[in-house]
Symmetry: C2
Subunit: 207 residues, 2 copies
DNA sequence: AGCCAAACGGAAAAGCTTTCCGCTTGATTT
DNA sequence: AAATCAAGCGGAAAGCTTTTCCGTTTGGCT
């Protein structure tokens, strides 16, 4: 029963329509936070984010009452972006290629956004809802991609979206002493393993 | 002037022997931290810990220069305790029973000490060494238990310690919307699956 | 134009971690 | 047993961060 309009993947939960400048600031903050989290880490001081966004701290805390609300919003935004990539890739590529490309994007979501993994596992009650959001948002996307590729006969049809998501998540867990690209390489092999067709070289390994 | 001395499984790294009262305080702090982390969470203020331990903050920071050092020490202590349980259980029970009991202890280590999982996955460089310590310490313990039970023919002999450890760790990852006992139940099933003997009821399910 | 609630900025408050230093005390020597 | 003194202690204060507060600005509306 969300009756409010225009809140694509909003920050916390917007009960009323935001003023134009406020909406702009929220977007700027989210963007800045994404950048800073990737650069300095999730523990970066709020000041760094507000400076980059060009707003005062008061503005940050108006929209994200707690620091964790901002982290949560960024993670959700990353998840949303990954989900949105599904239809886009499907429109631009053949089913199997779209699937492979999306899985690489998903891998990157897990591997490069350190904040995501730690938020998911932190045990902090503020992030309790995230794993659920993660699954609810991404499972349909992957299911659609899998179904399309399976319908074409390009890949095996006995893999459930959720299983694949978990398996890749598992592969992306950081293991002490492995080079950074290790996870991506393993996932590449897994992706190749989905294929029904003849072995192709360089499809998932190269960029 | 021999400055090297015994440091059983000390806090950070003790280059010289501690004075008796200092040793007592370190122990008290570790004990207090364990309690507080389990109660209030890993983010509990240091004050709560020093109060419970009955020491001043200065004392805490003398022994654990950074907050993360204390967390690290507690995690290591938990790992050590789990490792120490191996020989103890082996002495007190038959091989297969000892193995099952130890795996339950290991499950508890993963499941109830929220701090461990989040420290392992946090990405904070302060905890980088922990996954390695975890494996190095627990793998030999489990290997010994497995070998003993396998030698008796009580369990299958085609399971490597590391694989089992990872599998259980995987089962213990928190999944949104599952009851708290879910992980333990699943692990119980896995443990039963190791057995070569006739199905027994209530061995791993009950407490 | 003029109104005013929404939104802003940033100073101040609150809270945590970490440092500092004068005082206390366990161990050692005499 | 007393003296000595470096190791160790406690807690006040410094340094950072997050969070609150409030006077000022401004977008949306009439």
């Amino acid at each position: 029963m969300p009756e409010n309009a225009a809140a694509p993947a909003g920050p916390p939960a917007a009960p009323r329509r935001l003023r134009a400048d406020a909406q702009r600031n929220v977007t700027a903050l989210l963007e800045a936070a994404k950048t800073v989290f990737d650069t300095t880490g999730v523990d970066a001081p709020a000041k760094e984010i507000t400076d980059l966004a060009g707003v005062g701290v008061g503005t940050l805390y108006r929209h994200f009452p707690q620091r964790s609300d901002l982290v949560k919003a960024v993670v959700q935004s990353n998840i949303d972006a990954c989900a949105a990539a599904g239809p886009r890739l499907r429109a631009a590529h053949e089913p199997a290629a779209a699937l492979a490309a999306w899985l690489r994007e998903y891998t990157e979501l897990l591997g490069t956004k350190r904040g995501l993994a730690s938020a998911l596992h932190s045990g902090d009650p503020a992030y309790e809802a995230l794993p659920g959001y993660f699954l609810e948002t991404l499972t349909p996307t992957l299911t659609a991609l899998l179904d399309a590729a399976a319908a074409d006969g390009e890949i095996r049809d006995d893999v459930a979206a959720k299983d694949l998501m978990f398996a890749i998540a598992q592969l992306c867990l950081p293991v002490a002493g492995e080079s950074p690209g290790h996870s991506a390489r393993m996932v590449g092999i897994l992706i190749d393993g989905l294929s029904n067709g003849p072995r192709r070289q360089g499809r998932t390994a190269g960029q």
